[in-house]
């Protein structure tokens, strides 16, 4: 099975984690809802459930 070839493991391991961390969390955090319609980049939620991060 080509997945078990040890050659590209380190490259895939490092690059995948790095690319994921640098690309997706910045995107997700842009959609963080807030109670303020001015500061939020998305629509103003009628039910302001507290977004679970500090």
């Amino acid at each position: 099975m080509p997945q078990l070839n040890p050659g590209p493991w380190l490259l895939i391991w490092l690059s995948s984690w790095l690319i994921f961390l640098l690309t997706i969390p910045p995107l997700v955090i842009m959609f963080k809802p807030t109670n303020s319609p001015i500061k939020s980049l998305t629509h103003f939620l009628p039910d302001p459930w507290y977004w679970p991060w500090p």
């Binding site: 080509p2 997945q3 590209p8 984690w17």
Partner: protein, 227 residues
């Protein structure tokens, strides 16, 4: 026709450039950037609604201390869902079929939950190694079994995702090869195989989304145990 059906899972390298890095960048490009307008487009609203509702679903049962992990876990979920779905398109490479890719996310995340559990509430973390009301004779064996099951968790996480996606892609290739071969000789069988292929593709779309969600759900459960 590929001589070896597993050739589709070889890490593609073109002129010295590993294309898996390019494939990993694809999910970022499929998401809309939020604008500075107060009312956004329907797609943007849908996207944020899906993000918020899935975050709520995942983190409602968890303690408030675990909510610090929300960004990481939700990002991982949409990352895996997008990669899995993009991999179902023809001529694309699915990074999540690589065990190394999935282990890169499973092992550090699981290890982090275990370390957090051992640091913040060590007694509670060790107590998980023995279920309640165990007969005294079984205690040593059960502790060994529970320790093994704890240590096998990252492997199970990674291999589950890898195996599900690899099997799905293999099945699609096998059935489409069979259909392609039979279409000139036995057209009726080829049509039935084609219907099977269509149903399988629908199943694979479901599996792609479900497996990503299961990966992330299990991580949140391991976090719930340790926090």
């Amino acid at each position: 026709m590929a001589l070896n059906f597993f050739d589709q899972f070889m890490t593609p390298i073109y002129m010295g450039i590993p294309l898996i890095t390019l494939a990993t960048l694809m999910p970022r490009l499929t998401f809309l950037q939020p604008t500075s307008q107060w009312t956004t487009s329907r797609f943007s609203t849908l996207q944020s609604q899906l993000l918020n509702s899935s975050t709520y679903q995942l983190f409602a049962p968890l303690s408030p201390k675990s909510h610090h992990w929300a960004l990481l876990i939700v990002s991982l979920m949409i990352f895996l869902i997008t990669i899995n779905l993009l991999g179902l398109l023809p001529y694309t490479f699915t990074p999540t079929t690589q065990l190394s890719f999935n282990m890169a996310f499973a092992l550090p995340a699981w290890l982090a939950t275990v370390i957090i559990g051992l640091r913040t509430q060590p007694t509670h973390a060790f107590a998980h190694l023995l279920p309640e009301s165990t007969p005294p004779l079984l205690i040593p064996i059960l502790i060994i079994i529970e320790t093994i099951s704890l240590l096998i968790r990252p492997l199970a996480l990674g291999v589950r995702l890898t195996a599900n996606l690899t099997a799905g892609h293999l099945l699609i290739q096998l059935i489409s090869t069979a259909m392609f071969t039979m279409i000139h000789t036995i057209p009726l069988m080829a049509m039935l195989t084609g219907t099977l292929l269509l149903l399988l593709s629908i199943l694979e779309i479901a599996v792609a989304m479900i497996q990503a969600y299961v990966f992330v759900l299990l991580l949140s459960l391991y976090l719930q145990e340790n926090m």
